[in-house]
């Protein structure tokens, strides 16, 4: 199992979630976060904005589903055309065990 952490633009969140759901990856967790990337934030006039709002989407998927889910996030979260600075990042880490609380069953 893999944990996918995708940081996307807040205005792309809805579309990403909808497409993920359509493709069968329904389960997800959302957090509103602030952060900066390689671009070091936004310099507008004399003011540096380095706490830029983004949405963090957490998803646990089976290993085989990882590429499919990542493809959808990449496709939906990218600014139309070639993409733009600030579109986000995706991180993937391993999950060793997962449990459903209501049944106590192991697995996703």
């Amino acid at each position: 199992m893999m944990m996918i952490r995708a940081i996307v633009r807040p205005d792309k969140k809805e579309q990403v979630l909808e497409e993920l759901s359509n493709a069968g990856y329904h389960a997800a967790t959302m957090i509103d976060v602030v952060g900066r990337g390689k671009g070091k934030g936004l310099q507008i006039g004399g003011i540096l904005y380095d706490e830029i709002p983004k949405s963090l989407i957490l998803m646990a998927v089976e290993d085989a589903d990882k590429d499919g889910a990542v493809d959808i996030v990449l496709r939906c979260a990218r600014t139309s055309g070639t993409g733009a600075v600030g579109d986000g990042k995706i991180f993937i880490s391993p999950i060793e065990e997962a449990y459903t609380v209501s049944s106590g069953a192991a697995g996703l």
Partner: protein
């Protein structure tokens, strides 16, 4: 070292905190999150709670019913608390058992999920200790 991510109901937060202290793991980080789980395919699972909520509303139309159904069957996002707990390998089993015991309800769906991931290193900021000593 392991990282345990547990997503639980909002009204189970204090019980979960208490349970964590009882198994000897007082430290955690918690954030409010919005999320959804697997879609509920069998409507009979949520029927009872749906009726309870609709009765609370008194008079209702199809729009209210649709909203309530979406809230219960996992179509729309709903609020949950996400705990992140750093633990020694040998404590993981006890922590998972405690969280499951406290958070299980009779509602059949929506009790939450627990994920366990490996952690490669941890560092205590105050002393600079690394590895197991920093947990």
């Amino acid at each position: 070292m392991k990282e345990i991510i547990a997503i639980v109901r909002m009204n189970k937060v204090s019980a979960t905190k208490k349970a964590l202290v009882e198994v000897g793991v007082a430290g955690f980080t918690a954030v409010k999150v919005m999320g959804r789980g697997k879609l509920v395919k069998d409507p009979s699972v949520i029927e009872e709670r749906k009726q309870n909520l609709l009765n609370l509303a008194g008079q209702y139309d199809s729009h209210t019913e649709k909203r309530v159904t979406e809230f219960l069957d996992g179509t729309s996002l709903f609020p949950r608390r996400m705990f992140t707990i750093l633990a020694h390998d040998e404590d993981v089993k006890d922590i998972i058992e405690a969280i499951i015991r406290i958070n299980r309800t009779e509602y059949k769906v929506g009790d939450g999920k627990i994920f366990v991931s490996p952690v490669f290193d941890a560092i205590r900021v105050r002393t600079g200790e690394t590895g197991e000593a920093a947990v």
